[in-house]
Symmetry: C2
Subunit: 180 residues, 2 copies
DNA sequence: TGAAGAAAGGAATCACATTCGGAGCAATCT
DNA sequence: AGATTGCTCCGAATGTGATTCCTTTCTTCA
């Protein structure tokens, strides 16, 4: 075995399931905003050397904390200025097949199964209201689609990927009694 | 003026407002899925040399088609397994102030003003249902918040950033009559 | 047909990612 | 207590890929 491999194995020990320390969370926070940072720059921001942050980022990837690195495209600038959320009521039917078919469309950005007075929630970004109409038509052509309600986005004040921070205060017990 | 600057200026001619050709759209499509690709690899996928794609990517950034490059964090793996959409009914009030305050919370991922039977739509990712409770409490403490309806996500089948593709067929006129 | 502008490719340069070896530090065992 | 083991850090060295420059080619327009 080449020396490099052996070292690699030794170094990768204990990659699994470890709580995030402050360094990790800061790194995640920075990368969630700008993944184009150099390791040197990132290191100086969190107070570590480039090799150290490199090691940590590698670990964060390996353990699934970082799922990937993507370029964020501007909807309007790339020809899809129209954004809408669509609530879908379904009756039985093979959801997974329907979802897989929908996922093929680049207009579909999110598909969630939700609790509440509706069943499924879609996030759709498309070229125009006409395109949304076409998409709804396709939806209704699928089996088990009972009804839809569309919420057309007029303006977007915030839109970003998951952030690293956690507001601890939100979990404090509410006003009067401390639950369990 | 140094030679490099002059060259840069010459090279940056015509950066503004040009329609995306097939190369651009393919590049955007690839980068929206994986921004970690090397220019050489990207070039071989679209059929251009590394310097050529580099030039185009630079242009796509400069013209705002690419807003940024980010690391995609896994919600559950980073301590926020709880996802919900919250519809908010507001009465008058200074929305922008409220929105700015909300944006401070890393739990808030999206804030849209929408048309439909509700006013504002929030995407919230937090640690627990208790945290959502805490967030709603903060919401109600703000002026002009009339009511909220929360849709708790049970499972997510698809979640991604804006894609480059456009399904032309969606814009075709519907069944019977050709509009306009 | 000729001239000019834009874009691509090849080669060279430069910056940064990545690796390596060693040192510091904490926890565990003797 | 002292030693050992394992982990993570850092500085220096290396390699790869980003970036630049220059030339060539293609297209467009006079």
């Amino acid at each position: 075995m080449p020396n490099s491999e052996k070292t690699e194995i030794i170094r990768n020990k204990g990659l699994e399931a470890r709580p995030l320390d402050t360094f990790d969370r800061t790194i995640l926070g920075e990368l969630a905003v700008d993944a184009g940072l150099s390791y040197a720059e990132l290191g100086s921001r969190v107070g570590l050397s480039a090799p150290a942050v490199h090691e940590r980022v590698k670990r964060l990837r390996a353990t699934g904390r970082i799922c990937g690195t993507v370029a964020v495209l501007d909807g309007p600038a790339t020809g899809k200025p129209f954004l809408a959320f669509v609530h879908v009521d379904t009756t039985g039917g093979s959801k997974s097949r329907t979802f897989r078919a929908l996922s093929e469309l680049p207009e579909l950005e999110e598909i969630h199964s939700v609790a509440g007075d509706t069943c499924t929630l879609l996030k759709v970004r498309c070229a125009s209201s006409r395109a949304l109409e076409g998409l709804l038509a396709r939806l209704y052509a699928m089996p088990g689609i009972k009804a839809t309600r569309s919420y057309v986005v007029l303006s977007t004040y915030l839109e970003r990927t998951p952030q690293a921070g956690i507001t601890e205060a939100l979990e404090e017990p509410p006003m009067d009694e401390a639950p369990r």
